[in-house]
Symmetry: C2
Subunit: 378 residues, 2 copies
Amino acid sequence: MQTRAEDDESIAATARAFPEAEQVSPDIRRPRPPQLRDVARAADVSISVASRALNRDPNLRARETTIERVFAAARELQYRANAAGRSLRTRAVGAIGVILPDVNNPFFSELLSGIEEGCDENDVMPLFGRAERLNDNPHLLRNLVNEGRADGFLIQPTDVFPAAAFRTLAVDRVSSVFLNSHSVDAQSSVVLDDRAGIALATRHLLDLGHRRVGFVGGLPDNDNASLRREAFEATMAAMGLTVERRWVTDRGFAFADGQRALGEMVDAGELPSALVVATHNAALGVLRESLTRGIDIPTSLSVVSLHDSPAAAYSWPALTSVRMPLRELGRRAVSTLLQVMDDGIPRHEFITDPAPHLVMRESTRERGLSRLHTPRRD
Amino acid sequence: MQTRAEDDESIAATARAFPEAEQVSPDIRRPRPPQLRDVARAADVSISVASRALNRDPNLRARETTIERVFAAARELQYRANAAGRSLRTRAVGAIGVILPDVNNPFFSELLSGIEEGCDENDVMPLFGRAERLNDNPHLLRNLVNEGRADGFLIQPTDVFPAAAFRTLAVDRVSSVFLNSHSVDAQSSVVLDDRAGIALATRHLLDLGHRRVGFVGGLPDNDNASLRREAFEATMAAMGLTVERRWVTDRGFAFADGQRALGEMVDAGELPSALVVATHNAALGVLRESLTRGIDIPTSLSVVSLHDSPAAAYSWPALTSVRMPLRELGRRAVSTLLQVMDDGIPRHEFITDPAPHLVMRESTRERGLSRLHTPRRD
DNA sequence: TTGAAAGCGCTAACAA
DNA sequence: TTGTTAGCGCTTTCAA
């Protein structure tokens, strides 16, 4: 039996642990979610029949009515299999890590939708992570795997990525699919038809009568950047046009790179009459720099970019761009990853359908036409 | 001993199970991650001592060297506790769902960083989800809980949110914290000092000599919008200034709402000399509309917005804005959620530190000053 | 100061 | 056609 002092201390300890316990009613505890055994009981079958019915085990030879009873019970109870129990048994957690750089890049919105669609279709859970986080926490990917939180990864690499973080994936033999990366060390990949996109953008300018066409590209040692530049040069060459060196830049894919590219072209002398910009953010940078420098787009310079986004409609002037099938990229990336996880065989998928599509806005115009809309007064 | 026929059948079965096994070398299998038993063996202790040492169980009375041995072994093996095993036992998974609208809103980048920081500090895993997804899949949150994938939620609600999806959280007694929502039905919340932010923006304009100041606000039945509008009116009143009705709009927080607000103000007649815009995207819309309509910012109209983002530096002209402590909001939201999950007591936190901070760019100017930088030619 | 063992929810091998 | 049961990796109670 406790003394009075002990009673007091015990009460005090309780009070410290629950400083506002009086505000919490005891029945506020969250009820236990329904379990497989509840479903089995409700359907009047054994737990194992319930499990095999819900998982559509082909080896289960049961009456159709029995199976239907199980499903009805599961629906009724809003049963969802506990992920931990299942994962412990199956050594797979039904979740994939999705590592993207720079989540606020406006063009990701559609990619994210596609990935979520693919996940919904295949009943897996996406775990989104910003690539920046790998800098603070280089073991993140390995930890995710070792903790059994992710079965595989979707990764969009960039120039500024900690490549070492991805090496460990190969070492640990974790399935991963790279998004729109033509880099050779991708184990598996799903890529867009960048070549067709750039060709479409370039031909658009040629169709408008432009002949002095420049190219704002990515860093020279980036595989995607080289591919896009080659596609530009090939399209020009197919028309019998040569590309002036001074009108081709390779500063990078970011907003500031686009600003710098246009600035340097201006400083170097005469401008081309039109520019293909290899990526969306750089094109926004070009637009911004043209405002700063008083270059009128599209009257004196037409600009078209690879990749579209909502921000393209918001810019000044609204940006003409080539819309790439990013939603499809996301969906296919998920299904490809699941296949790779299933059989361990690397795959390289190429998305040609739907094809790239030109979205005409205000930043391109026929060569030599004067602008139509209200000029900004000064 | 097996017969030849049995051998054959066994081989056939293997082939069926691994249809393209010849392409996969046998050692390509992913090695089993280290387990607690491996750590225990390496440290020469029992599995239970290892567990209690790693979890810093205060009831464990063990030699310091023993504990150190366990940690050394864990480090050596890169041990990470399997989440499924732990979760099965503890009924908590160490993950929180983070539901945000409109991931590509540029201002989220900093909020996301803060949330990830908070998660790293507390060793929990964020599961990001776009609110749009709740439309396709209204049971998402409940499923996440019933599957044992998330222990609680961080939610940023908006006008277009399926409120019903959140009701179920309360019904199911799932801990959740609302981000910067002053809405009354938030069980718990962490909010910024919007009032101070709006006051700072307004005073900035007043300090520049503006007296005819307008306000571009959110929808009238949005709690945050009302609060911001009241703060604006209070700051004006404190200076003895009245607010003209026609210079106050309540179209909403989106880009297009800002465009529409300015358009309607222009159509209605004389403009104020300065505008406080209650949110970032709407301010970008105001800037865009001013270009369309040939209104020179900041010469004829100064614009300042609540909330800053990288896009503010990219707009034309670069947007002067009030930087709110979004990173801190993210960090505190995580720690608050963990507290609520721990004791079930709702909390309402108010972030005043760091204080809102004015970021001067190009969209505000002293009343009556002509512009300094190179005008855009026409 | 340390260890043995039960049991979390599920799947699948095996038994009936 | 259906049921019983072992065991996935971990934490924690209880015993030593």
